[in-house]
Amino acid sequence: MGLCARKGDAVMAYLRGGRILRVNLTAGKATTEPVEPYADGFIGGKGINVKLLFDSVEPAIGPFDAGNVLLFGAGPLVGTPVPGACRVDVMSRSPVTGALGDAGIGGYLGAELKFAGYDNLVIEGKAERPVYLSIRDDEVEIKDASGIWGHDTYETPEMVRQDLKDPEAAVVCIGPAGERLVIYASIHSPTGNAAARTGLGAVMGSKRLKAIAVRGTKGIAIARPQEFLAACHRLRQSITQVHWYQDVHTWGLTKIHDREMRSIYEVMGATWEGAETICEADFLAKYLHRRVGCFACPVACFDSYNIPQAGSGCVKCSPYGDLTWDLKNPDLMVFWEAFVMCQRYGLDSRSLANTLAWLMELYERGIITAADTDGIPMKWGSPQAIISLARKISYREGIGDLLADGLPAAAEKIGKGAGDHLFMAKGSPSDVHMLPIKTRALAAAVSSIGEDAQVQPPLDFAATRKYIRAQDEASFQEAILRYKDRAEREVGIRQAPDPRVTDGKAAMVRHDEERTAICDMSGVCTWMTPFLGLPVDTEAMANLMSLGLGTTVTVDHLTQATLRMQHVERAFGARLGLTRHHDRVSKAYYRRLRPGDRDRPEIGLTETELERMKDDYYQLLGWDVPTGLPTRSTLEKFGLSDVADRLDV
């Protein structure tokens, strides 16, 4: 029924690979089961992953235990020509948060998984020796990787493909950082994509799984192919007509990101001498090798560079700013060199930047000295500090060994109040430039994974900028008129964008969570959505699923499914003992905004305000307000009485 319509008597289901593949590395065995029981309620991708995780990982099982699972989920639209339909949700119990670990990866893995006849891949157990997994349609093999172990994420795919004699298999792998269980190691494609956050590369390393190679030739059945194709063409046409499209197609996100970083630092009042010289667009104009994109993506947001001495690779968006602005480093070539190292070693470059920013703050305050960091002074912007730590952390050399266990652990070891300067939520560090305004702080506090760069309600940030520039209240109100109109339309609360009030902030966070959740379930990149003005919204996705499946999928069905997913996500944390008390941001979050060198506490947040917004948020989700736990009645309303039973509520 519903979201898993069958094609005649054939095994293959419309829009689906049709099967979940379970590979147990301890037993060396692979089995399959139909995806159908999960498809209607959880849609696909992250939705199905959450339920599989909840059902299979008991609270006693730690992130690096054999009992932990590593999940890959490709949603129903992945593998089709829907713009940006490439995303794979990767999930596990995380060594960073200790609870949920979740990250998305684009590229070509998802499409190949679907073509091979799988929607979800479950990795269980732990191999005795290094292995890699080869999936070629029904042929699933666990292969020896002892000769590949130790190689970086550029060399590994090439070695795997040679071993398989298949030059075009989609490969994802871990690098030296994942092998050494650096807790913020990531899983990489060969061309810049990564399941970067929450330490999923370390989980893969703990299973001694070096790489996964997939090749599929089965295809995905579409119920109404010509209409589906026409709908894809229409979406592509309208994407190319969006006013900034040509700009992005030429400049990637560099121009947008240049402006974004300047705005953020203006609101933070934290700009520094030399920052004005950072220009990503100039860097791109000088060094761009070519534009690179994910499967079925008309935007192609990756910039690739091939710079002698500094290295080659693909990058988009955030790392440019993380490794320059946030570290007071004006030199984009240092960013590039460090970024390529992160790529090769399989380290999350954002987490590296978060670590460096923290150490540099500690050094400036005299909490640490060069003696604490192997003789390297952690001076703001120091190229030596940036480059050497990329290596040290990935290989656990010297101070890197401590930092590789995560920042809360390092703070404890360092003492002297070092932890007070950690900018993080749920044990996961945040970017310096993640604005501590009300929606962002609430989103980070209530998220299962701490700061989630995908959830960024745009309206109050835009309104904050107007606020700090406004001459008086009347001109401010005038300036945010259209944000208020939009808020009224989207969440029904007109004053929600006003940065000073808590009203409507929870609703805006939930609205943005819903947008990203539908993407994470269907497998479409969130950048195709109205967030950046592109047309792939929930209605478009419901329409595409309807045409693909040959049965009607409503917007309401998808929206309900996002809530169902969030309830199970919450229940997974709850079983590990997480409650309202854990939904908070670290001390360093508060009172960081000084636009124009003036204290403007009203645009930041206080602990009282955060608690008030949490009340609103739990009420919206139908959770128990005092504890933040999902209630039995809510769970039952969503058909989750099995979850309520296990949660014992």
């Binding site: 073509f115 030059p167 061309t191 995905i220 008309p298 192609a300």
Partner: protein
């Protein structure tokens, strides 16, 4: 006037949307293994080189000459295949200087570009403008099968050409 789809590989971002729309249009499913266009993605050192391969509608056509069962012919100006006659021997792909004819992963038959009967879906889909439908007479020297073959040679991509790997 013989039409064909000219390839400019430089702006190609390697997204493979052309492959899936081809299979969707012709077979009602999304399957790069059942497509008349194939995008080579050669990933190396963190970079990727992309090259779409699609029939260049050569005249004379080495594939037609090589076919031992006379399954290939010209239907007016466009290459056509008689599936009943095709034995999927792969001689056509071998004969094509750039391997621009492919075997259907779902059946024992070759797949060749029919220009979608007038409006090639891949051209419509390509956001990077790598694919253009042109008349043979207007085509520059750069736009032909020998040019594609020279790129395959120059970038050592023969191992990525499906028809050449098979043998």
């Amino acid at each position: 006037m013989p039409h064909f789809i000219a390839v400019d590989h430089v702006p190609c971002t390697g997204c493979k949307a052309c492959e899936v729309v081809c299979s969707l249009y012709h077979f009602g499913e999304c399957n790069p293994g059942r497509s008349a266009i194939h995008v080579i993605r050669k990933e190396r050192d963190g970079l990727v080189l992309c090259l779409p391969l699609v029939c260049q509608q050569c005249e004379p056509a080495p594939c037609i000459e090589a076919c031992p069962t006379e399954a290939l012919s010209r239907d007016g100006v466009i290459l056509a295949i008689d599936e009943a006659k095709c034995s999927a021997c792969g001689d056509c792909a071998q004969a094509c200087p750039a391997g621009c004819i492919f075997m259907d992963s779902a059946g024992m038959v070759a797949i060749c570009c029919d220009l979608c009967g007038g409006q090639p879906q891949c051209v419509l889909t390509c956001h990077a403008q790598c694919l253009t439908e042109v008349d043979r007479d207007e085509a520059s020297q750069k736009q032909d099968v020998e040019y594609l073959a020279s790129l395959l040679e120059q970038e050592s991509l023969w191992g990525c050409v499906p028809g050449k790997v098979m043998r």
